[in-house]
């Protein structure tokens, strides 16, 4: 479980996050949504410690992350996995070297054990016959899946994804969404996803946090979003005509 209490973050005079508080529960896919520039990425990077917050506290299962020293943070980070927007795979490593890298750095497993774990993770994300290829030689969707495999290779308790569907076609996006959701449930991870993708919101949003101009404006589930009365949220989520029609039909059916 990740608990965020009243965190604020500014860059010079620009206050980007304004007292955001929430709780992300394990085994659930938690989504952070909001317009571009609303502070989603800053929030996610603050949660993982890539940005230092100005105010507020972040707890990982009662462990106060904001007050940890460098050594403790480093240890906690071995319980985290993160999928970056562009995949952030190491260009000079092959697919399997990328996935094996955290194991090489932090475990004393034998090469055979490491290879078994790498194969398991790559199988889990449906990557076959690409072990020896380099990131530049595989598609964007495959890169994302390799990034997910790398993120889960250490059996993390917390998984973070920064716009995992950006630049992907709708079908591949769905595959990625389902994969992340399955992994979250199977491994009981606390997953936090930063997304713009409304398909993701409707498909896998166990909990949704809507950020607007650095402020938490709404939170709830994908079911609750249909009835949410927050105007900004409605404008954002149902900006697309098709989504508006689907919402109207669903509400009509419920009534």
């Amino acid at each position: 479980m990740i608990t965020i209490q009243n965190i604020s973050k500014s860059f010079e005079d620009n206050l980007v996050l304004k007292g955001v508080s929430t709780v992300f529960e394990p085994g659930k896919t938690n989504l952070i949504i909001g317009r571009s520039g609303s502070g989603k990425t800053v929030l996610l990077k603050s949660i993982v410690g890539l940005h230092t917050v100005d105010k507020g506290q972040i707890f990982y299962d009662d462990r106060n992350f904001t007050q940890m020293n460098h050594k403790l943070r480093k240890k906690l980070r071995q319980e985290m996995g993160m999928v970056f927007q562009g995949g952030a795979l190491f260009d000079s490593f092959s697919v399997e070297e990328n996935v094996r890298f955290p194991l090489d750095m932090f475990t004393n497993k034998s090469l055979k054990e490491k290879q078994e774990r790498v194969d398991f993770c790559l199988d889990r994300v449906n990557i076959a016959r690409a072990h020896k290829l380099y990131p530049a030689e595989i598609s964007g969707g495959m890169q994302k899946r390799v990034a997910i495999a790398r993120a889960i290779v250490m059996n993390p308790k917390y998984l973070f994804c920064d716009e995992p569907n950006s630049g992907l076609d709708p079908e591949t996006s769905l595959v990625i969404d389902e994969l992340v959701h399955e992994l979250t449930v199977d491994f009981n991870m606390t997953t936090v996803i930063n997304t713009h993708d409304m398909n993701s919101v409707m498909e896998i949003g166990d909990k949704i946090l809507f950020i607007s101009e650095g402020v938490k404006t709404w939170e709830g589930t994908k079911e609750e979003i249909l009835h949410a009365e927050n105007k900004k949220l409605q404008e954002f989520v149902f900006a697309n005509k098709t989504y508006r029609e689907i919402r109207d039909v669903k509400i009509e059916k419920e009534n």
Binding site: L50, R77, G81, M82, F84, G86, A88, F90, M105, F106
Partner: protein
């Protein structure tokens, strides 16, 4: 004020880079890769530049010593001392700042803009140490060898060009390069190359590590890195020459 900011940030980056590595075996493996990529792959360019450099210095010395009172073997001596004292250490370092330095800045800078450095940090890896330490050790280690190679090829260049254009006979040239040899000149230049190697690795690494933006900024950072490294090499050359002589 900006200078102090950069000096402070550079120092704190170095403090992080030279902290204890996570896993020595991985760093050692990376060190060998860097020695190959940054050092051994530079041997060819060092050899070519040094041959031409040695040949040109020989010609310049010959043209400036056309007085019959000067014995022609001094041409070899002039080439040798010029190579050892300045060209094979300082000029080679300036050239290597362009080759190795821009390589380091663009590699680390690209990793920054594609979030690979963030990815290392999230894994709990000290990215500064993982990326900068092996490169720095590799360059500092390889620079004295490149210096020796440069002197060797420079002398060969003089031996080829001098007799070929009739500026000096081969026996006179060989006699000259052995005449009044001062071993301290080599020690002096070796010390310089260690400093220059450190600058060539760490200054471009600093510019790459703190790139903010995209491909354009990486290119701009590479240019800034090479310019600043060159200036620092010349400043340190001046200081070390004053201190060591």
């Amino acid at each position: 004020m900006k200078l102090f900011f950069h000096v402070g940030r550079y120092s704190s980056l170095l403090a992080r880079a030279f902290s204890r590595p996570e896993k020595h075996r991985i760093y050692l493996r990376k060190l060998f890769v860097e020695i190959e990529q940054l050092g051994l792959d530079s041997v060819g360019i060092v050899a070519i530049i040094s041959i031409f450099m040695g040949g040109i210095i020989t010609l310049q010395v010959a043209y400036n010593m056309s007085n019959p009172l000067f014995p022609s073997y001094l041409i070899g001596l002039g080439n040798r001392d010029t190579l050892i004292l300045e060209f094979s250490s300082t000029i080679m370092a300036l050239i290597m700042a362009g080759k190795i330095g821009s390589n380091i800045t663009s590699e680390i800078g690209s990793m920054r803009v594609t979030e690979q450095i963030d990815s290392l940090e999230i894994m709990g890896i000290n990215s500064a140490s993982y990326l900068i330490l092996p490169k720095t050790v590799a360059v500092v280690f390889i620079f004295p060898f490149l210096f020796v190679l440069s002197v060797f090829f420079g002398l060969i260049g003089g031996l080829i060009v001098g007799p070929a254009v009739g500026a000096v006979s081969a026996p006179d040239y060989i006699n000259g390069i052995q005449y009044l040899f001062t071993p301290y000149y080599v020690t002096f230049s070796m010390i310089k190359t260690l400093f220059f190697g450190f600058l060539v690795a760490t200054v471009p690494a600093y510019f790459g590590y703190f790139v903010d933006g995209g491909a354009f900024e990486v290119g701009a950072a590479s240019t800034r890195a090479v310019v600043n490294t060159n200036i620092l090499i010349l400043v340190f050359d001046l200081i070390l020459t004053q201190l060591l002589f």
